[in-house]
């Protein structure tokens, strides 16, 4: 059973995306803020984490740094609201230089808006690579 953790503060988005992914056969947990997301990680093992950057409490950059601080096989897919090089907003809490470095930690960055079919394909590809590694 493939376990995914979806960290996004948009409850509707989480619900719709869960349905999309579960329809594809993934087991999906959701967390609505960064801290809760990290707590989920302590409780369970996930194969893939789908991470939004704009999050209350601890934002996506912070979560990503914490996740990648420990060596795990968990893969991280970042859903970015804007392409690289876009001006950062104050509440992002990272500098322009830091952004690239932190995003480099992610296994994949998908820019919004994305074609749902493309997204599903990418998640599946990532899931396969996790399986190959674990074997």
């Amino acid at each position: 059973m493939f376990r995914l953790l979806l960290i996004d503060d948009d409850e509707e988005l989480c619900a719709e995306l869960c349905q999309v992914l579960e329809a594809e056969g993934f087991k999906v947990d959701t967390a609505y803020d960064g801290e809760r997301g990290l707590r989920c990680l302590q409780d369970k093992e996930y194969h893939i984490i789908i991470l939004d950057l704009k999050l209350p409490r601890l934002n996506g950059y912070g979560v990503l740094k914490k996740i990648k601080a420990n060596p795990r096989k968990t893969k991280v897919m970042v859903l970015s609201g804007r392409p690289l090089g876009e001006p950062l907003l104050k509440e992002d809490g990272v500098s322009q230089d830091e952004e690239e470095k932190v995003l480099g930690l992610a296994d994949l960055v998908i820019n919004k808006p994305f074609m749902i079919e493309n997204f599903i394909t990418k998640v599946k590809v990532m899931a396969l690579s996790v399986v190959e590694k674990s074997q």
């Binding site: 719709e16 995306l17 609201g81 804007r82 001006p87």
Partner: protein
């Protein structure tokens, strides 16, 4: 004489009283020797007293004389039994005579021999005697007349009384006045005990001889009178040895002894009566007195002359010996005959060491030939003068520079030699040499010019600056070094400087040039300094070549100009950059807003999209997905609007690189075809061949043409739409035109087309053309729009092939 000075300070009346008392006493004594009843005495010292008193104390004391004479005569007349009446007027007249005698005598002596104090000259003695002889006439005449006519004495003739009177007065003055007149303290000073012994001896002998003659008893009257001449040798001896004091002693001794002898009927002149004898004695005394006085004066004169000579000699000797100059006498062979003492100081030799040696022996060998030549010339020109400068060796071996002049006085019997004057000028010479060395090795060109403008001195730097050799420069006119343009003014300037010689720069506020031998002119600065030389006032010109400085100044000036130009350009660019930055900041504000809105909108859109997706999946079996398709389509359009907003916000300075414009255009065309293909729009490409890569930002170029093509396709509403894309090079510019056969743009809209949020489309942000315009402007290009309503639009994008340099500068 101090006693005399005290007397001179007394009041006239006091002096008169004193004089009257003394006069009375002496006159009374003298009158005892007078002829009976006449008061005519052959011995009359009061006349000497009166003369001396008037001489030393002034004419003012004459009343003392009168009173003294009056009283003495009165006493004697009254004693002789005269009545008061004849005695008083006679005495008064005699007093007047005596006073007049003294006054006249002094007056005459003063007018004959003005200013004398001592009877120290022979001439003065004669004048004195003459004055006395004349003055005594008055006393004798008045006195004799008064006695003879008012109260004649029996048996006495007028002429006898007169002569006795006159003679007594004359001898009285000569004997006594001369004692006072010749008195001087210095003459009476005793120089040694030998002279004291001699004085005592001669005094004793003189007294003895006088006594022997005048106290002796001679048997026959007048027969032995010539023995009196024995006195003369002794009186002369005494005078010769002791001068005026000796003469005075002789006269006094002889007078007193002779008069005493005669009074007691002794001596060679003894006759019948004392008064007659005394007349002869007086004659003798007078002769002796005049003789010895004359002798004393003559001796004194000679002594004084000797002293003068000695003084002068000492003075000249001192002048010669203490002079800084040496005086030497040499003969025709230049052998030293005499040399003055400063020689020792200058050459270190004693006079004796030099005498008899030719002066060339000590001369520097280099100087000998020249000086010998000058000396020979001098020897051959009697009375001539010559000058020379040479080095002489001191006894200690050192060399001294001497400057001398010689005068040929071989023909002068007093000299008979060549007189050489010389002095030590070593210090001056050393100073001159130092000065010349300082000038010679100065890095500044120095030229010394005399008043006539001819060059007297130059240094090495001058030779180099002007290109002339030293030999050529010396005695050249300074005007030869002045450029022709200024040459004829120069002598006036030169003359002007000599009128007010002081150190100053030449030609203030004028550019000065020096004319070289090769005709080139060199810019210079010149300082002028007056220098006093042996040849008169000269001017030292210090000339500095300022060519290098001028060049440096020129370079500095040019640099300054170009720097100013550069600053000007840079500030223009800066202003432009500032304008651009201002624009960017404006854009950034919109960008921030746009990014925020876009982010916020994307999330709900994304959720709607997901929801639609899930719905579609669930309702697949329902078969009718028409509404869901519409929802998805609008979601895409919404996303497009967000993209546009974001890309407008993203506008930034182009990231230049070499790009293949055709490749980018192809991408855009295929994208457009993908989107608008279903509308049946054909896109034709007309690419010019052999185009280079252009320098531009690939993303921005792509964005521009995406927008333009999008607009073109959207403008086509009818079927059979055609878009023609043309690319060609137009000089340094690339022209890309996109022509469509769409609806066209209304004329009134054409100038609003680049305004943000302006649109005539039902769907559109109104940012497309704004973004295009911004991006084209950033590339230093421009957009041309040609449109006919209902016919279509041609949009031409004109871009430079290569980035513009100053844009790079401002973007950096």
């Amino acid at each position: 004489m101090t006693l005399l000075k005290k007397f001179q300070l007394f009041s006239t009346s006091r002096l008169c009283v004193i004089l009257a008392i003394i006069y009375t006493l002496i006159a009374y004594g003298s009158l005892q020797l007078a002829f009976e009843g006449t008061n005519a005495s052959p011995v009359w010292p009061p006349s000497g007293l009166a003369f001396s008193a008037i001489w030393f104390l002034g004419y003012r004391v004459w009343p003392g004389i009168w009173i003294g004479a009056f009283i003495a005569n009165m006493i004697v007349f009254m004693h002789n039994g005269w009545a008061f009446i004849p005695a008083a007027p006679v005495s008064g007249l005699i007093g007047i005579g005596n006073s007049m005698e003294a006054l006249t005598g002094v007056f005459l002596l003063r007018s004959f021999a003005e200013g004398i104090v001592l009877l120290s000259r022979v001439g003065d003695i004669f004048k004195f005697v003459f004055a006395v002889l004349v003055a005594c006439l008055s006393s004798a005449t008045i006195g004799t007349s008064a006695v003879y006519f008012i109260h004649p004495a029996p048996g006495v003739s007028f002429d006898m009384i007169w002569f006795t009177w006159w003679l007594g007065d004359v001898v009285g003055v000569i004997v006594f006045a001369s004692l006072f007149l010749t008195y001087h303290r210095k003459l009476w000073q005793i120089s040694s005990w030998q002279s004291v012994l001699e004085a005592l001896l001669i005094g004793f002998v003189l007294i003895a001889v006088n006594a022997g003659i005048f106290m002796g008893k001679f048997p026959e009257y007048g027969f032995y009178s010539h023995v009196t001449y024995l006195i003369l040798p002794f009186a002369i001896w005494c005078t010769y040895r002791f001068g005026f004091p000796g003469a005075s002693f002789s006269i006094l001794t002889t007078s007193i002894i002779a008069v005493f002898g005669s009074m007691y009927h002794l001596g060679p002149f003894v006759g019948q009566r004392v008064p007659e004898d005394l007349v002869i004695v007086e004659c003798f005394i007078g002769v002796i007195a005049v003789t010895v006085l004359t002798l004393a004066a003559a001796l004194f004169e000679r002594q004084k002359a000797d002293e003068d000579i000695k003084y002068n000699e000492a003075r000249f000797r001192s002048l010669v010996e203490n002079s800084f100059e040496v005086i030497a006498l040499v003969d025709t062979q230049a052998k030293v005959l005499y040399t003055s003492p400063p020689t020792k100081h200058i050459l270190g030799y004693d006079n004796e060491e030099l005498l008899g040696h030719p002066m060339f022996e000590w001369m520097h060998p280099e100087d000998v030939p020249e000086v010998v030549g000058i000396f020979q010339g001098l020897v051959n020109s009697p009375g001539g003068i010559a000058h020379a400068t040479c080095r002489m060796q001191r006894k200690d071996g050192t060399w001294r520079w001497l400057e001398g002049s010689g005068r040929n006085l071989l023909d002068d019997p007093a000299i008979g030699a060549i007189v050489v004057n010389y002095r030590d000028i070593t210090e001056r010479k050393l100073f001159q040499q130092r000065f010349e060395q300082v000038v010679e090795f100065s890095p500044i060109a120095n030229i010394m010019v005399d008043r006539k403008g001819s060059i007297q001195l130059v240094n090495k730097t001058t030779e180099m600056l002007f290109g002339y050799s030293r030999e050529e420069l010396l005695n050249m006119k300074i005007e030869s070094l002045v450029p022709e343009k200024f040459r004829h003014y120069h002598p006036d300037f030169r003359e002007g400087f000599h009128h007010a010689p002081k150190a100053r720069p030449m030609g203030v506020e004028r550019e000065l040039y020096a004319l070289r031998k090769d005709g080139k002119q060199v810019p210079v600065e010149i300082g002028l300094t007056p220098i006093e030389t042996e040849e008169g006032l000269c001017v030292l010109a210090s000339i500095v070549d300022i060519t290098q400085r001028k060049k440096a100044e020129e370079i500095l000036r040019r640099d300054k100009e170009s720097l100013e130009r550069l600053v000007d350009e840079r500030s223009k660019e800066l202003i432009k950059t500032q304008k651009e930055l201002k624009q960017f900041s404006h854009l950034a504000d919109i960008g921030t807003l746009a990014a925020t809105v876009a982010h916020e909108l994307r999330n709900p859109l994304g959720v709607i999209n997901l929801a639609a997706y899930n719905l579609k999946k669930e309702r697949v079996e329902l078969g009718d997905n028409r509404h869901l398709v519409n929802i998805e389509k609008k979601i895409w359009e919404g996303n497009q609007i967000i993209d546009n907003l974001l890309s407008y916000a993203r506008i930034k300075i182009p990231n230049y690189e070499k790009i293949d414009i055709f490749h980018i255009l192809d991408e855009c065309v295929s994208s457009a075809q993908g989107r608008f293909g279903e509308k049946g729009i054909t896109i034709e490409k007309e690419y010019a061949h052999g185009l280079d890569n252009i320098e531009a930002d690939a993303n921005q170029i792509r964005e521009i043409f995406m927008n333009i093509l999008n607009n073109a396709c959207q403008a086509i509403l009818k079927p059979g739409g055609l878009v023609v894309l043309k690319v060609k090079q137009d000089g340094p510019m690339l022209r890309v035109s996109v022509q469509d056969n769409g609806v066209g743009i209304a004329e009134e809209d054409l100038n609003k087309i680049f305004e943000p949020f302006f649109t005539r489309k039902s769907k559109g942000t109104g940012l497309g053309m704004t973004i295009c315009n911004e991006l084209v402007n950033l590339h230093q290009g421009k957009i041309e729009i040609d449109s006919q309503l209902g016919e279509g639009t041609t949009v031409s994008i004109i871009l430079p092939m290569h980035r513009r340099d100053h844009v790079q500068a401002s973007s950096n």
